[in-house]
Amino acid sequence: MTFLPGWPGGLAVDGLSAVLLVTLGTVLAAVLVFAAGEGYGARFFGLMLLFAAAMAVTVTATDLVLLLMGWEVMGAMSWALIGYEWWDARRVRSAGVAFLTTRAADMGLYAAAGFAVAGAHSLRLDDLAAAGAPWRDLIAAGLVVSALGKSAQLPFSFWLSRAMDGPSPVSALLHSATMVAAGAYLLIRVHPLLAATGWAATLAAWAGAVTALVLGAVALAQRDLKQLLAASTCAQIGFMVLGAGTGAPAGGTAHLVAHAAVKSLLFLCAGVWLGVLGTKRLDALQGAARRHRAVGAAFGVGALALAGVPPLSLWVTKDEILAGAGGSPALLVVGFAASVLSAAYAAKALLAAFRPMGGGGVLRVPFAQSAPLVPLAFAAAVLGVLGLPPVADAWRRLLGVPDESGPGPWTVALSGALALLTVGAVMVVRRIPEPAWALHWLWLEDAASAVVVRPAFATARALARFDDRVVDGAVKRVARGGLAVAGLAGRRVEFRVDGLVAAVGRAARALGALARRPQTGQVHLYYAQAAVVLAVLVVVAVLAG
């Protein structure tokens, strides 16, 4: 569908878009039902629907202009939703941090659009890979930056931590099928361009792998369930970015879909507990899963899937990505290490939720909040079928990459074994190493504040001072100078001119008085004057003649 006659761009649904739209719709429906149970107002649902609609536009756009429109509206809505409870200053600040961070990265997308016009003379996503030599690299760089920002990859990850201040349904949606998924989607969409440049794909792969590893460690260090889940989102999206970079778009998409189900499920569970128990601290949630069977079971399924335990969904989809990374042993090693970390932090969450504890009755959970968990848990469990060979082939054909290879049996076995071993070890040991350096998200926000924000403010203040003192000062000095010159003119020049005018006036008055003197009213004087004047005139006539 096209919007403007003569404009080559528009909206189109292909395999990738269809998959994402279905995912988006499903998750959105579940989240909205859940939110209805929490009793939010019309503003909330309106913003949520706009948020989802913007994501839908983003994933169906065929050119950069429409994509940017969806992308920007999505960013704005994320700001409005994270800061939904506007009366809390911290939440509003968090919304600002999230918005400004993603917005800063979005500059890459604008630059990419400009470079696309310059290099490819087209804004269509299909044409980007055909751009000329310097332009193609510039476009790819811009797209990668903006995607990394939107997906909260390193070094932009900190905004996702601040985004946790939003309501739980927002987190559930923002972490699964929208926003962070948009970055991964964009990289999967333009993976031909990334592959064509040669370096961009590698960059994306390493960025994803490192994020998966480091943010896995960050997740492991968290003591707050939502923060743990947020860091895990970064790590899992890292796998998708890795897939996009290593030529495994089908695997990345499968991971995206499965992760959407898993993560929305986990966030909704966290939301339930936050609502009912009033806490999201891991030590305070002790035994929470045992106090409501349905929620507990759903959380268990989700956490095990997140851990990559066979035969649940993420086990298979992650392996498909790692199969794509097979070309580089280093990447593979990092990937497996990240897998182990993901198993570890999932196990940490499981342990906290299922640790037996005395006391505490059965939790009362509204039906509207427990009902959406069931289909999501089901999806989280069974989406692994996407990895079964016949389904996988159909999947790849749907996404237009039929040649993508699946994971080898040893990869699958190794990752499953690693996950099982890790979870088992955690359950047995019950002690998890918590790297202290990772607790505060690597101090990324402080670093950004120190490197970008403060210098920017300092520069702004310096420029403001320059403006006040030099530019404005010059204007004011000109005005003062004008006044001074005017004063000088008023005292020195005006005085003379005015004096001259006054003198002329006085002289004219004096002459006027003088001119009336002959008019004495006495005839004998008239006679004398007339005679004198006539005599003078005779002299004049004689001289002139």
Binding site: A508, R509, L511, G512, A513, L514, A515, R516, P518, Q519, G521, V523, Y526, Y527, Q529, A530, V533, L534, L537, V538, V540, A541, V542, L543, A544, G545
Partner: protein, 455 residues
């Protein structure tokens, strides 16, 4: 020799009307003398008609001493028109006066003398015309029989007598050294005459004409008579005799062109306009203000007279300016008659009390300054052109400076018009109509003359 009386038809009409008015006044009841002004007005209208008809015919000379040319045509039409306006202006104030018919007859006789003054091309006729134009005016000045009027009449008469005697002496001298009194004879006769005698005779002759024109040194009567005489008479003596005097001066200068004429007249012109303007500055009496204003206007009018024979622009400048001056001056005096006030303060708020009268006054006063598109503007432009064309740039400069200075006292009169009305509005409908007509005529002449100049 042309002795066709029909060539003097306008003058004969005026004479007949005067005689008719005089006869009518003898027999009519004192309270019902309206046929006398009616007869006078009819005579003036008939004279205007004949003058208009004569203007379309080629010029000629009647009785060897009476030129019927462009100068005479303009003099006749202007004098007859102005006199008609004065008769109408005076008709109201003198209605029921014991000597009502004599008043109008005197005006007519004086006007007749004025026309003769402008048309004569012989010194003897000039003297006769001078007496005819002057003597009735002396009587008119004292017509009110009040103290100021009597004083004015006496001063007017005394000045006229002295300067008239000078004039007679000048005529005697010139005719003696020039061996004749007709201008063509004098032109050749004076060329070989002793210059000192010619200069003395010339200045003596000028004395009388300058007295009629109200120029230096014959201007002393102007403020006193204008202030003391009845307003309508003041309007007459400051307007009509001047027309004939300037015509006579120009004719003399152009037809005889004696040595030193331009310099002599230029000096007189400069002195007249400067003195008139300066003396007008401090006046609080509008009639005295107008009197000095007419003196300064006489100075401007002397500029083309001085340029007589030196510039082609001189004659149109004089004729246009004199007509424009007559219209404007009559308009201003008509306002004074209508308002019935002589002090400047009495004109406060006139524009609101009587918009037509106030507007007419504004038009006339701005006309005196020479503001486009009034008639005097065109006259002044021609006057400046004549001065520059006749190589008297200094005279043009003096006239320009005087024009700028004159703005002051005209504005002194205009400004109070815009203030709040101070008293009941003055009625006098007839005078208001004449003022409005004069203002309209001034604008019409200015626009038509401007268009003619531009073409």
């Amino acid at each position: 020799m042309n002795e066709n009386p029909a060539d003097l038809a306008p003058e004969l009409c005026v004479l007949a009307a005067a005689v008719a008015g005089l006869v009518a006044g003898m027999f009519l009841p004192r309270a019902r003398q309206w046929p006398a002004p009616a007869a006078c007005s009819a005579g003036l209208v008939a004279g205007l008609a004949f003058a208009g008809a004569a203007a379309a015919r080629p010029g000629l000379t009647a009785f060897d001493a009476f030129s019927v040319d462009a100068i005479t045509h303009v003099t006749r039409i202007t004098v007859l028109g102005s006199t008609l306006a004065v008769v109408l202006l005076a008709a109201g104030p003198v209605r029921g006066h014991p000597r009502e018919s004599e008043h109008h007859v005197l005006i007519l006789l004086s006007a007749l003398g004025t026309i003769m003054l402008g048309a004569s091309s012989d010194l003897l006729v000039l003297v006769a015309a001078y007496l005819l134009a002057s003597v009735p005016a002396y009587a008119l000045a004292g017509f009110g029989k009040d103290a100021p009027g009597t004083e004015a009449a006496l001063k007017y008469y005394l000045m006229g007598a002295l300067l008239g005697v000078f004039m007679l002496g000048g005529v005697t001298l010139l005719s003696g050294v020039g061996r004749g009194t007709a201008y063509p004879v004098l032109r050749t006769g004076l060329a070989g005459a002793p210059p000192a005698a010619v200069a003395a005779g010339l200045v003596a002759l000028l004395a009388g004409l300058l007295f009629k024109a109200g120029a230096v040194p014959g201007h002393y009567w102007v403020p006193d008579v204008t202030e003391g005489a009845p307003p309508a008479v003041a309007a007459y003596v400051t307007t009509v005799p001047k027309i004939g005097a300037f015509a006579a001066l120009y004719r003399f200068g152009a037809e005889i062109s004696p040595d030193g004429w331009p310099v002599l007249l230029a000096v007189i012109a400069a002195a007249t306009m400067t003195l008139g303007n300066l003396a007008a500055f401090g006046q609080d009496n509008v009639r005295r203000l107008l009197a000095y204003s007419t003196v300064s206007q006489a100075g401007y009018l002397l500029v083309p007279v001085a340029m007589a024979g030196r510039s082609d622009l001189a004659r149109p400048a004089l004729l246009y300016f004199v007509a424009a001056y007559a219209v404007t001056n009559l308009g201003a005096f008509a306002v004074v008659v209508a308002a019935g006030r002589d002090d400047l303060a009495g004109y406060a708020g006139l524009l609101r009390a009587s918009p037509l009268l106030g507007l007419s006054l504004v038009v006339c006063l701005l006309g005196f300054v020479g503001t486009p598109p009034t008639a005097v503007f065109v006259g002044k432009v021609l006057m400046f052109g004549a001065a520059l064309d006749g190589d008297h740039a200094w005279l043009a400069a003096v006239a320009a400076v005087n024009t700028v200075a004159s703005v002051f006292y005209y504005l002194r009169w205009i400004v109070p018009l815009f203030r709040r009305p101070s008293g009941p509005p003055p009625p006098a409908r007839g005078a208001t109509a004449i003022a409005a007509a004069a203002a309209l005529l001034s604008l019409a002449l200015g626009i038509a003359g401007g268009a003619a100049l531009a073409a």
